[in-house]
Every structure is written in structure tokens, then in C-alpha cells.
Symmetry: C2
Subunit: 239 residues, 2 copies
């Protein structure tokens, strides 16, 4: 029997997709999961996602490195915002980072009752898909979106993941979100940067002067990492 | 200043889109809003949407005509299921109908705090768009979806509506859902029936033997009606 793929366009819809037997893949392409992959690629030891800025502040007082933004802007006391290029090896290697963002880090915590929670971005696309297709279970693709709304960049990424998995023949879907995401991916994969100019988040990043990372965030396979979330901490499955 | 268009892919996301100054357009292409338009086209006096089958039963005892389905199947005590062709003039003209469906009728009630709630389907597309563009206010396009999940048929319809409204120059959008819906519409409008074969709901209707209405549900401009919901009742704005 084939395993099921479903795509959830918003964290606020996750309860309608909850499948305890599924691996949950979380993405927040612009920029949390791209940054998390970059941090692990550069040797970070662990990342602790926290929901509130206040929680992040408490960890700051304990000596943790802090990555935190709201609405695309770095929180004043944080060491990092949400820009992947800032997680340089010289700063993050061997360190534990506490992370809090507008959409991504909250979404990561949603799948805690499921089989596993892993983190995807264009940067770890192939290594993630290779690993997923070896797991014998259903897969729920969970987009971080923007403040509980659908966004284009996360959905189109999940379309790429879903298509790659369906091609293996081990999976199937009757999920309209998955079908639509795959179509978005196939229609725009050859001019992705141009298409993503349409995204609301693209405009927000430009407005906030933090859009230099866009090319990085949509480039495939720059990171050989599979971040996974368990017991409140994100670690790298590939060590 | 231009008015804003936003598209909400699921009733469960409506709280994140709520805009008291907006007209809410509700669609449930397969099949509730297509059926409601057909009923008004055939002279129904009013339609009372109710959430539960129990409420519908209470109205039945009071002598109302009842249209009710769950999961695409007509409820035993109902006079109609959710098939538009059943609302024949000889049966419905001048009558009041109580209506309860899996997705559509619940969704209609969500916009009650907004400026107005109107009902759209391919069958009343042009008359609805003409009316909308004359209103000087924001517009929220609300898809009924399937059990709070995104569906393709409602989203693609809203893409058609959004595109037509944006063409007037009176509206603008920075909403990713709207952008994606418009793209879906433009990419598939020339082979809509074929594309909608991919919909999960298309398969459900076929399985339940109630898919004879698909052509009707995706045919433009067969109904000169604008159903609007106010004070618990749907009436026709064009009388």
C-alpha cells in the first residue's frame, strides 16, 4: 500500500491534517528554515525554537546565542535576526542557539505528536527528499505561511517535495493542496526567482532591507543537513 | 485609493482575513453555491442556511422544503440534496428552502459581521462581478473548501473573480492567496473541466453518483441572480 502525502498551507489548518503516523516536514522558505539549515551546515550543535520574544530573552540571560525576529526585523537583544548568511561557522560552530520568528519556529512545534518533525528548505532539498523516501510512512508537508495565511514560497517548495516523492512510486495523494502545489512548482520552477517577485514576503524583505538572502533561500542543495525537532530541540540527523 | 482584494482558502482561516469594511463573497462551486444560484434563478423566495442536520429537521416539521447533504449524500428526510438541477421551477418557485451542507452553508454565515455577504458561482459570475465592481469597498473572497481544507475548484473560481475585479483598476491586492488563485485560473481556464478532474471533490461526486451536475457548475453566466445573506436569510438582490 502506498503512503499518503498531504500538504497543509497554514499552521492554523494543521489540526485538520493531523496524522500521528506521518512525518511532518516544516518549511518557512523566507527565511526561518533556510536559516536553520544554514546554521547546521555551519556546525551549530542545537537550535531551541521558542514561541515568544520573552522566552528568548530568558535564554539570553542564561548565555545562549539568540536568533529572533518579528515581522522580518531583528529583535534588539538578539545576536541574529533571520538572515541565513549571518550564521557563520566562526560564530555558531558547536553552539546552541535559541530561535524565535514570526511564523517558522511556532510551526515547527505543531507536529510534536506525530512520528517525526523535520525541517526543509531549498538548501537541503535533495538530502531531505532522499531521506523521506526511505521512510515507510505517510508524510504531511506543513507550510509556515504568513501569520496563518497561505504564502506562495512555502507552498511552491512543498510542491517540489511532493512531486519528487510521488515520482518514487511509494506515495500517493488525493489532496487538493498537494495537487495545486505541484502545479505551482512545475509551472514556475524554471523562473522561480522571477515568479517569487510576486510574493508578499518578497516585498516585505525588500522593504526591511533584508532581501539579500533571497538567492540563497531559493538555491537547491547547498546544505547537507536534515534538521529534526524532538523533545523541544532541533538537531541535525546527519552528524 | 484602491480597494483591497483578499482571498481566504478555508473557512477556518477567515478570522485572519476578517475585514468589517469588506463585502464577503462565498463560493462552494461543487455544489452549494451553484445550487443556491440555480434555486434563485428558478424563483425560490428565500433560503435559510442552517449548520446542523438537526436544525434542518426542526424546519422540516414546520413545513419548509429542506435541502440537506453530508459528504455529498442527501440526508434521508430532505427534499433535495445538493444537486443544482433538482431545484426545478415547478417545485421551488415562491418557496422558502432550508439548506444545510457539509461546507457551503456554514461558510456563508461566517461573514455576518462584514459589510455584506454575497454568493458566487460560475453560473452568476458576470452579474456578480459587475455588481461588485460598482461597490466602493474592499472585497474578501471566501472559499468553502472541504472540511476546512483548501480545495481547487473554489480557489480557481475566486481567481477568476479576483482577476476580473483587478482589471477594472479599482482594486489591488498584495495577498499571496489571490495571486496564486489568479494564476490557477489563467493557467487552466481554457481546459477547466479537464483540470478539475484532479479535484478530490470531483472524485467524491463521481463515487456518490452525483456528478452529472459538474458541467452545469462550471458553466458561466446561466443565472441572473445575486444571492445575498442578511439576518439569517439568503435572498436575491436582483428581484
Amino acid at each position: 500500500m502506498k503512503h499518503i502525502i498531504e500538504t497543509c498551507f497554514s499552521p492554523a489548518l494543521f489540526e485538520y491534517f493531523e496524522n500521528k503516523d506521518a512525518i511532518v516536514v516544516v518549511t518557512d522558505v523566507f527565511r526561518a528554515t533556510s536559516s536553520i539549515c544554514a546554521a547546521f551546515e555551519n556546525g551549530v550543535k542545537s537550535i531551541i525554537p521558542v514561541k515568544s520574544v520573552d522566552e528568548a530573552r530568558t535564554y539570553k540571560e542564561k548565555g545562549y546565542l539568540i536568533a529572533a525576529e518579528r515581522n522580518g526585523i531583528k529583535i534588539d537583544f538578539a545576536d541574529f535576526g533571520n538572515s541565513p548568511e549571518k550564521f557563520e561557522r566562526s560564530i555558531v560552530e558547536g553552539r546552541d542557539i535559541v530561535y524565535s520568528t514570526t511564523n517558522g519556529t511556532k510551526t515547527i512545534q505543531l507536529g510534536v505528536g506525530c512520528k517525526a518533525v523535520v525541517i526543509g528548505a531549498f538548501s537541503n532539498f535533495s538530502v531531505l527528499v532522499d531521506w523521506l523516501q526511505k521512510q515507510d510512512c505517510d508524510i504531511t508537508l506543513l507550510c509556515a505561511g504568513w501569520k496563518n495565511k497561505f504564502n506562495i514560497e512555502d507552498s511552491i517548495f512543498m510542491g517540489a517535495v511532493a512531486e519528487a516523492l510521488l515520482k518514487t512510486g511509494k506515495f500517493e495523494t488525493i489532496c487538493d493542496s498537494t495537487v495545486a502545489a505541484i502545479d505551482m512548482w512545475n509551472e514556475h520552477k524554471d523562473n522561480l526567482a522571477q515568479y517569487l517577485e510576486k510574493c508578499a514576503q518578497r516585498s516585505r524583505l525588500r522593504k526591511n532591507g533584508v532581501d539579500q538572502c533571497i538567492d540563497y533561500c531559493i538555491t537547491m542543495d547547498t546544505c547537507n543537513v536534515i534538521p529534526y525537532y524532538k523533545d523541544g530541540v532541533i538537531k541535525n540527523l546527519i552528524d
